[in-house]
């Protein structure tokens, strides 16, 4: 819990810094001090929206990392799911519930296939999911004829748009100004992806930290052999974590597709797998397996996205985006390592 608290503090410090810099600039320029853009409703909502979408699949990636594996196929899976989403809705006119099941099923089945290859065929997770990354991207481009797929001109699936960019508890009040009725926004509402993330995170928290399956995930990640000797079906546990990751990727994919309103198969979702891995690692998952927490992963995701937001708001050249992200993950993990070494030393001194 200490680690999560530290991360959260870091998150708050980051937010305060952005505000501080913005206010400082206003003072420096001699203009009247206004609310920092970071704190504007629009910015906060949009960031929360993104955190929601990225957070959901990052939790899946985190699960896989806890078993000692890795999932590199997330981005391509997003693209594939996005393309299929457009085709099934617009070209084949499937009903939205059927589409929803289908789009969640495809990544889950692909995840199952990863799990099968890794546990039964004893291939390395890196290789299996790297091949996934290449194959699904190619499939997405081929199916879409390498052209951008959208959702314009079709209807009957507003629920997806609501899921991707809708607001829960959006409240307005009618006001009469100069005899005319105008709508006044009382509360902007909470972005649906963020709400979904909270729901998913709560469920996954119980799964990971309170259920047998979660305990087995950690056990398998730390010592697969000893777990097997304790009667745990390690292959099932590991394999299913990839399925779970696929399922959560599918959930995110629906939101990404409708958030962007169009899917260009060659670029949609690129590098998303790396966001997931970076968020998980920043949130305390060890690539050696057996370590990590849901709260950590969610805060890790938030950190990464707020960092990007900061790059935009502070007018830092956006080409530096990835460089900033990389540096923060590096420093974060390094600091954690040093902190851990120190507490280990303390423990030894106490003994």
């Amino acid at each position: 819990m200490k680690k999560e608290l530290g991360l959260f503090t870091l998150l708050i410090v980051l937010c305060l810094t952005v505000c501080g810099v913005e206010i400082g600039r206003q003072l420096h320029a001699g203009v009247a001090v206004t609310l920092p853009r970071f704190l504007s409703a629009e910015n906060l909502l949009n960031t929360a929206n993104l955190v929601g979408m990225f957070g959901i699949f990052s939790i899946g990636t985190g699960m896989v990392i806890i078993t000692g594996g890795i999932d590199l196929s997330v981005g391509s899976m997003c693209a594939l799911a996005g393309v299929l989403l457009s085709i099934t809705l617009k070209d084949w006119h499937w009903a939205w519930p059927v589409v929803a099941v289908f789009i969640l099923l495809v990544p889950a089945v692909l995840g199952c296939a990863h799990g099968f290859l890794i546990t039964r065929m004893r291939m390395q997770p890196f290789i299996v999911t790297l091949c996934g990354l290449l194959i699904y991207r190619g499939m997405a481009r081929f199916i879409a004829g390498d052209s951008t797929k959208g959702f314009v001109g079709a209807s009957g699936f507003d629920i997806f748009s609501f899921l991707a960019s809708g607001r829960l508890f959006h409240m307005t009040r009618n006001e009469i100004v100069d005899g005319a009725v105008s709508k006044h926004v009382v509360f902007e509402g909470i972005p649906m992806p963020f709400v979904t993330l909270v729901v998913v995170a709560v469920i996954m928290w119980f799964v990971l930290h309170r259920s047998i399956y979660g305990r087995y995930l950690f056990a398998v990640g730390r010592n697969e052999e000893a777990a097997r000797f304790s009667g745990i079906n390690t292959k099932l546990v590991i394999g299913s974590s990839y399925m779970l990751a696929g399922f959560l990727t599918g959930t995110s994919a629906i939101m990404f597709a409708f958030y962007a309103t169009s899917v260009s198969p060659s670029t949609h979702g690129t590098f998303y797998e790396l966001y997931g891995i970076a968020a998980a690692v920043l949130g305390g998952c060890s690539l050696r397996g057996g370590e990590g927490s849901i709260v950590g992963i969610v805060i890790g995701t938030a950190l990464l996205l707020i960092l990007q937001n900061l790059v935009n708001l502070l007018g830092i050249d956006s080409s530096l985006n990835f460089a900033v992200m990389g540096a923060v993950v590096l420093v974060g993990v390094l600091a954690d390592q040093m902190f851990r070494n120190r507490s280990k030393k303390k423990l030894r001194q106490a003994a």
Partner: protein, 500 residues
């Protein structure tokens, strides 16, 4: 080494310890785990620096700051876990880190092979210097390490538990080699828990206890009992505890067990309720494999089991566990425990279902069970939240026992239950085993420690190359009989392993 002191945070590991070894002498260093043997040797080997005291080589005080310094003074350390790279060949290992450069600064391969060969011959090792180490047995790999030591012109070779993973013949060969080396003027410091070997090969025994010199024995004084009494500071006679009640014969029947290692051999045996059945044999006799086949952990193994009147078929470890058939595996750290999990989580791992409600683990009840086991087994830990890796070997082994004892065992298979555990904890584990047997559990104990097998078992099954060559009743359990059967000879005392 004179008056060596070494303090670690919170503990005094060595308190004014003095040992000396003469040229060409074999000094055996004995002591329970944690007595300070390894620390002392690590100081000599340059891994640690002493807080007080001095190290003298040829009467001259020397300062050994690191491993390279130790090498310079001709001190070589052969660790229990071998320091070899098994993806390289023999010569590359021998010359690792000091490869002679040839043309273009590349490794002079011809030279290293030519230089390695004489050392292999000197050790009587009939292998090519071009063999990759993963093709060699552990004994041969160890020889390669000794060859490396010799090539460094070592005058003092420290061997830490060199025989712990060797077969009996390999052990004999190593002991012979120790004698040969000492005749050639090499001094040897030999650390071992196996007192038989110590008796056999050493010129002198130095015993440490709790980081202090506990005493020395010269060659004519060396005896098993005296070493043990110096080690523990008290007399320990016999570990064997008589079973309280007669056993119910043939309670567990194992028929036609077959293992992936010996797919053409079939093993059948009976074990009684409340009996401790020992499994003796040389390393590689297929005992651990048999154990894994019985509990469903050998993917290519199979076995027909009958427990009481019930016929059991086992296809996975889960099946065995559901029938109360448990294995305490040979390799505690790799197979028995998840060392980075805490005591509680390790104990409840196989029985987690018992502590759940609506699929969620109830940590309170989980802890109660763990705490009960900690108390019953006298596991020395401040609380059940301590990571298993922070406990000593004996306590770790008790955790492995505890996780199965929490689940009412019917059959308990213990594979090398006291390997690397100190004498005090050993006796405790033997007592636990007997208590368990008296409560009606069938105990199968695999052990390569002759004393242990002889002292603890009610009967002994001896295995040789995947088969049981004979079953010895307690009265016939003599070392000689076991050895005969272990090498595959038939003897009259041996009884059949099962009744039709």
């Amino acid at each position: 080494m004179r008056g060596i002191c070494k303090r670690f945070p919170g503990v005094v590991a060595l308190d004014r310890v003095t040992v000396e070894v003469g040229k060409g002498e074999v000094l055996a260093l004995c002591g329970e785990n944690g007595a300070g043997k390894s620390t002392l040797m690590k100081i000599l080997g340059g891994v640690y620096q002493p807080d007080e005291g001095e190290v003298l080589v040829d009467g001259q005080p020397v300062k050994i700051n690191n491993v390279n310094d130790a090498m310079k003074y001709g001190i070589a350390f052969i660790h229990q876990e071998l320091n070899i790279l098994d993806n390289l060949d023999v010569a590359a290992n021998v010359f690792l880190g000091r490869e002679p450069r040839g043309a273009l600064g590349l490794i002079d391969r011809k030279k290293i092979h030519a230089d390695t060969q004489p050392f292999l011959e000197r050790l009587g090792l009939n292998i090519s210097s071009r063999t990759r180490l993963d093709r060699l047995s552990i004994a041969q790999q160890q020889m390669v390490e000794i060859a490396k030591a010799l090539s460094l012109r070592a005058r003092i070779i420290i061997m830490d538990e060199p025989t712990s993973s060797l077969t009996l013949t390999e052990t004999d060969r190593l002991l012979e080699l120790v004698c040969e080396l000492s005749e050639q003027g090499v001094s040897i410091i030999y650390i071992s828990h196996r007192l038989g070997e110590v008796e056999h090969c050493s010129d002198r025994v130095a015993v440490l206890r709790d980081g202090k010199n506990a005493g020395q024995l010269s060659q004519d004084e060396i005896s098993h009992d005296r070493i043990v009494s110096l080690m523990v500071g008290r007399e320990i006679k016999n570990f064997y505890v008589e079973p309280k009640s007669g056993r119910e014969q043939g309670y567990l029947k194992v028929r036609n067990a077959c293992t992936g290692r010996y797919p053409n051999k079939r093993v059948s045996f009976d074990a009684g309720k409340g009996e401790i059945l020992g499994f003796a044999g040389l390393v590689g006799a297929g005992r651990s494999e048999l154990a894994k086949a019985i509990v469903g952990l050998d993917p290519r193994g199979e076995a027909e089991l009958t427990l009481g009147a019930e016929k059991i078929s086992i296809h996975s470890a889960r099946d065995a566990i559901n029938h109360g058939i448990y294995l305490v595996p040979e390799d505690r750290r790799a197979e028995g425990l998840i060392t980075e999990m805490n005591v509680c989580q390790n104990i409840t791992l196989p029985s987690l279902k018992e502590y759940t409600r609506f699929g969620l683990i109830q940590t309170g009840r989980e802890r109660e069970t763990a705490q009960a086991q900690v108390e019953a087994l006298k596991i020395k830990t401040p609380n059940t939240d301590v990571l298993a890796m922070n406990l000593s070997g004996g306590n770790q082994q008790k955790i492995v026992l505890g996780k199965w004892l929490a689940m009412q065992p019917q059959v308990m298979i213990l594979d090398e239950p006291t390997r690397g555990i100190d004498v005090g904890a050993k006796a405790e584990i033997y007592r636990l085993m007997r208590a368990l047997a008296d409560r009606g559990t069938v105990i199968l104990m695999i052990s390569s420690d002759m004393e242990e097998v002889l002292n603890v078992s009610d009967r002994i099954a001896v295995m040789h190359e995947g088969e049981i060559t004979g079953m010895l009743e307690r009265a016939d359990c003599a070392e000689q009989n076991i050895m005969q059967l272990a090498v595959g000879r038939k003897i009259n005392a041996a009884k059949p392993a099962f009744a039709e």
